[in-house]
């Protein structure tokens, strides 16, 4: 399906649960609330015209200015050859979203990494162990915008190098 057909189909199927974002890369992008994610993903996987069977990427994003932290899902369909991006934003205090590893198995490690680096809790994750950081890590969530660790050396500004 082309990008316009896909956009109109998604808007028709889900009505008010999704909010369209400007598709900067040519890939349709939608903003979804965390509580609707499960039913949207079920439809995306099972609908015969949509058939998103591949999760290309899952990552965390952090906007401390608007006090939001979120997860971005990049989906692809091998059968229909179309892409889709979803974005789930949550308040920064207690971010929680359902884990999509029951729909796409690749999400398992992506979610472990995102949980460890951003502090987002993925409910019903089958294996919530930390993935990349050392076992004794106790210094917070490094990929958040306002993180400072004790060994962290920030790049000096241009012209200020000693």
């Amino acid at each position: 399906m082309t990008a316009e057909e896909l956009t109109s189909k998604i808007k028709a199927t889900f009505a008010e649960k999704v909010e369209e974002l400007p598709a900067v890369t040519g890939i349709p992008a939608f903003r979804v609330k965390a509580e609707h994610l499960e039913e949207i993903c079920t439809t995306l996987v099972s609908d015969p015209e949509l058939k998103f069977d591949n999760l290309s990427c899952l990552g965390g994003i952090d906007y401390p200015e608007t006090n939001e932290i979120g997860v971005v899902y990049c989906l692809f369909s091998f059968a229909k050859r179309h892409h889709l991006n979803l974005r789930v934003m949550m308040p920064r205090e207690n971010p929680e979203v359902i884990s999509v590893s029951e729909f796409w198995v690749a999400a398992n490690w992506f979610e472990r990494e995102t949980a460890e680096l951003f502090g987002i809790k993925f409910k019903d994750h089958p294996d919530p162990r930390p993935l990349l950081l050392i076992e004794e890590w106790d210094e917070g969530y490094p990929m958040r915008r306002d993180w400072e660790g004790k060994d962290f050396i920030r790049m000096p500004e241009v012209g200020q190098e000693k």
Partner: protein
Amino acid sequence: MGVVQKVPVYLEKIPGGGLITTSLDAVLNWSRASSLWYLLFGTACCAIEGLMCTGASRYDYDRFGMIFRASPRQADLMIVAGTITNKMAKRVKILYEQMSEPKYVIAMGGCAIRGGPFYYDCYSVLRGVDLVIPVDVYVPGCPPRPESILEGCLKLQQKIKKEKVSDWSKTEKFIPEPE
């Protein structure tokens, strides 16, 4: 220390013993320098350049007698090629301790020397492998040219050839005089 460590000290006291220790020096140093078997230890881009490309046919390690070994027990040189993260640092130390004496380390590339391009703005990179293991030769570059790495290996061979048998009884590791 064992009995063997004390032998050169007593040998030097006998008249004519100096001749034995210097020829023993020469033979042992020549044999160690001419057959440095390196451990296949590469984590990042320097592994492609420094282990695979330099070991292949155009720039060859084998003409210096250096063959790769997969197990640290059978290797006496560890070329640390690549970025070492904090999680990997513990394992680097374990591998270094599994190598048997005499053992040498070449820190290859910017990341192994001082963290390289990851010195700033990084939460998980170890700034230099000499924070966990002692290094003999540093080869700068990102990645170093194969010719640079071979120059580093030759410098290591020169360093090995300055070792002395009478240092066996000393407990500190041998550090040569700077030229």
